[in-house]
């Protein structure tokens, strides 16, 4: 084995071709009242997967629209029954604990009873995410060999819930532990052919990646201290003292730094976690995405999309304003407006795919390399996985994956 030998990954997708495909498939989705979305998603994934190469060979996506549609129908049957009974039952139980509220805070707490359905849905969303990932891996092939993932969604659900609670209770201090352990669970249950991925490394090594979030939080804290001090020192009349302005500047700077810090953390924890993954005990990976580039892609993409969105909605607003009142409130008027808006949303969806999602995938792929690729040659095929619900739960619960 030679770990110095390395095979680079690359992304070859084109803006124009993907935009045409995305726009065409989302218009078909509107025309078919949403049913075509399963085929739309399939075709876009086929395009994106086929644009990713490692060395000379491209990935292949083998999922079908039909199995997604069927998986969705199964999910609807299960969820309609589950949600109806569980939500009604929880609400009924909640009613037994209501007392007359004595102040606004208690009243607000009691409004929470009305949102009790969240407790019914939250574990399902985590479940749906794992199953969607398992389905995607089961339908991805490289050199004709299937990827795959174990049937272990519920183990992921309770771990994800416990880790989130622990992170919340420690005010985010154990975030690296959550990131690492959940990624390790996912990685250790993933396979390429008959070989397994293993996540090595340790969770404490992710702490350097958190530093910018901490700096930002420190700055926000500082702004609070400064504004309290400024208020205490300020005489009557001078409302905008230098202290208050300094506090506002520090708060804005702190929040921006936290956002930057979060992206930095995502990028650098991804680098560490990827570098410590091993396939078949011999094949390694190197990932070198950059924080600046990731932020650049977001900002450029959002700028382009908001300019186009402003233009499109301006035109639609103009068109609807031209209608006489009697037409615009009639049923036909509602339908025309709804179709215009859906068309505009389809356009914006295609733009965000082309200007945010695809460049992001391209950046992460282009900065990835496989070490000791010779170790792949001995990997053998794995058995076909029915793929659970084919992402049906994720679709029904609108978990919201980009592609």
């Amino acid at each position: 084995m030679n770990m110095n030998d390395s095979l680079p990954a690359a992304y070859f997708g084109k803006k124009g071709a993907l935009f045409a495909l995305a726009l065409k498939t989302s218009l078909l989705t509107i025309v078919t009242l949403g049913i075509y979305r399963f085929w739309a998603k399939t075709r876009i994934r086929k395009y994106v997967w086929s644009s990713i190469t490692v060395g000379e060979d491209a990935l292949e996506y083998t999922g079908t629209g039909l199995e997604k549609f069927l998986g969705f129908l199964v999910a609807v049957v299960i969820l309609a029954i589950y949600l109806g009974f569980v939500q009604l039952g929880l609400f009924f139980l909640g009613l037994h604990f209501i007392a007359e509220p004595q102040n606004q805070r208690e009243a607000l707490q009691q409004i929470a009873v009305f949102y009790i359905s969240l407790f019914a849905v939250a574990p399902l969303i985590v479940f749906a995410r794992y199953r969607a990932r398992r389905y995607i891996l089961a339908r991805t092939r490289f050199r004709g060999i299937r990827f795959g993932m174990d049937k272990a969604a519920w183990g992921y659900v309770w771990r994800a819930i416990v880790h989130s609670l622990v992170t919340l209770l420690t005010l985010g201090l154990l975030l690296p532990r959550q990131t690492f352990n959940l990624e390790k669970y996912l990685t250790d249950h993933s396979h390429f052919g008959d070989q397994s991925f293993v996540q090595g490394g340790k969770w404490t090594a992710l702490y350097p990646a958190v530093k910018h979030i901490l700096f930002g939080a420190g700055l926000v804290l500082l702004s609070v201290v400064v504004s309290i001090a400024a208020n205490a020192l300020a005489g009557p009349g001078d409302r905008f003292s230098a202290g208050v302005i300094a506090a506002i500047v520090a708060a804005i700077g702190g929040y921006c730094w936290i956002i930057f810090g979060y992206v930095y953390y995502s990028v650098h924890s991804f680098r560490y976690l990827t570098a410590h993954k091993l396939l078949a005990g011999t094949v390694g990976f190197v990932a070198l995405p950059r924080t600046g580039k990731v932020i650049g892609i977001y900002v450029t993409g959002l700028l382009i999309i908001s300019v186009v969105a402003g233009f499109i909605f301006g035109v639609i607003g103009g068109v609807t304003a031209v209608f006489p009142m009697s037409i615009s409130v009639s049923t036909a008027g509602y339908i025309v407006i709804a179709v215009l808006y859906l068309g505009a949303l389809a356009m914006l969806g295609a733009l965000s795919l082309v200007f945010i999602t695809q460049p992001m995938i391209a950046h992460f792929v282009d900065t990835l390399a496989v070490r000791n690729p010779a170790g792949l040659d001995s990997v053998r095929q794995r058995a076909y996985d029915k793929g659970a619900d084919a992402g049906g739960f994720a679709d029904a619960l609108d978990v919201g994956a980009a592609i």
Partner: protein, 385 residues
């Protein structure tokens, strides 16, 4: 372009190992198949009519082939792949093999789609229109009255805080003579009828022209309604309507139904573009259909109360006529209430058959009711110099 002569180089993956094999490809001598010539194994024969290509690929300079085969996979395809990069060979295959992009669908697929489609539709319709309403009605009947009253008080507090600008101020109107008039109205309407709750009436000092029934027999009337009403009999009609909701346990039943059906429509719509808005609109339509029936029943209940108390229902018709100009702009199927014009017609028809009536309150009592909010401790208005 003519048929390529000799063999062309391609990459082959046998579907069993991840090893990349360099192979030669050429048409078979009988012109019915593509031959794959491997270095250390027997040549493979892929019949032209079963040859399939991957669809929606980004690289036009690469053609990936496989063969249709009766496998258990997601699509009936063999696991082996042949990747061709030779431009002439790609052009020739694309030009001469029209079946290359065919989707092969297994028999029985349509049946299973139809089966699950009807199962999904049945599950949603039965849940929303049969099971959840029945279960909500059953649970509403089995909720202890104390819990229902507490729930109602919570709802009322929330409404009070929503309409009030300052949550520390009590909006309840308590002028004693007004309360007496209200009490008289209640007694004349209900008489010795059992409506299942101790009815509690509250007037809130707010200009909204509205009234509502909260769970547990609690009815709220806004001052705006008293200001707007042209007679005490109009207020009696509104009160009768709200008592109808109370007697039918509507507030509790409808809250339980809404809780159970929340999110089911958005599940049906799934990850569709603009789905959130459509789901909200659909939810509104569904809840409106539920409540329209309840509203019509409450109107009927009100007419019974008013007739039994020998109160004229023509003012009720007048009230609906006045609000029709505001409410009937919206088509009925979008509205939570029946059309006001229809409700007015209904009340007028009733009034025509019940002639011997007397007003619910005397002029003095009506005056007292309209001033029920006078003298309420209001926040000090800003002092102007």
């Amino acid at each position: 372009m003519t048929e390529p002569s000799g063999t062309v180089e391609a990459a082959f993956f046998d579907g069993e190992t991840a090893k990349r094999q360099v192979v030669g490809i050429a048409p078979a001598t009988d012109r019915l198949a593509l031959m794959i010539l491997r270095e250390d194994a027997a040549p493979l024969r892929w019949p032209f009519d079963r040859l399939r290509a991957l669809r929606d690929q980004s690289d036009k300079g690469r053609l990936t082939l496989t063969v249709a085969a009766d496998t258990e996979d997601e699509a009936p395809r063999d696991a082996a792949r042949l990747v061709i990069r030779d431009k002439a060979a790609i052009d020739w295959i694309l030009r001469t093999r029209p079946g290359l992009m065919r989707r092969d669908i297994r028999p029985g697929t349509i049946r299973s789609v139809a089966l699950w489609l009807s199962a999904a539709a049945a599950a949603v319709v039965v849940m929303l229109y049969v099971i959840l309403p029945a279960l909500a009605d059953y649970l509403a009947d089995h909720l202890p009255v104390e819990s229902e009253v507490a729930f109602g008080k919570s709802v009322m507090k929330q409404i009070e805080w929503m309409v009030g600008e300052d949550d520390r101020i009590d909006l309840r109107c308590t002028a004693p003579s007004g309360l007496d008039a209200l009490d008289k109205m209640k007694t004349r309407l209900i008489r010795d009828r059992d409506i299942g709750y101790d009815l509690s009436l509250t007037v809130l000092d707010h200009e909204m022209v509205n009234a509502f029934a909260a769970p547990g027999g609690q009815i709220v009337i806004f001052r705006g309604l008293l200001d707007d009403a042209e007679s005490a009999d109009e207020v009696a009609a509104v009160l009768g309507h709200e008592i109808g909701h109370v007697a039918a346990r509507d507030p509790t039943r409808l809250a339980l139904r809404a809780a159970g059906s929340a999110g089911i429509l958005s599940v049906v719509l799934g990850d569709i573009t603009g789905g959130t808005v459509i789901a909200a609109a659909g939810d509104h339509l569904m809840q409106s259909a539920y409540t329209r029936d309840a509203e019509a029943a409450a109107d009927d209940f009100a007419l019974t109360l008013l007739n039994d108390a020998r109160i004229d229902t023509a003012p009720m018709a007048g009230f609906f006529d006045r609000i029709a100009t505001m409410t009937d702009q919206v088509p009925e199927y979008l509205s939570s209430h029946p059309l006001s014009a229809d409700r007015a017609r209904h009340a007028r028809a009733n009034a025509a058959t019940h002639m011997s009536t007397e007003p619910i309150l005397s002029a003095a009592e009506w005056q007292a009711l309209q001033s029920i909010c006078d003298g309420r401790a209001r926040p000090n208005p800003p002092t102007s110099e």
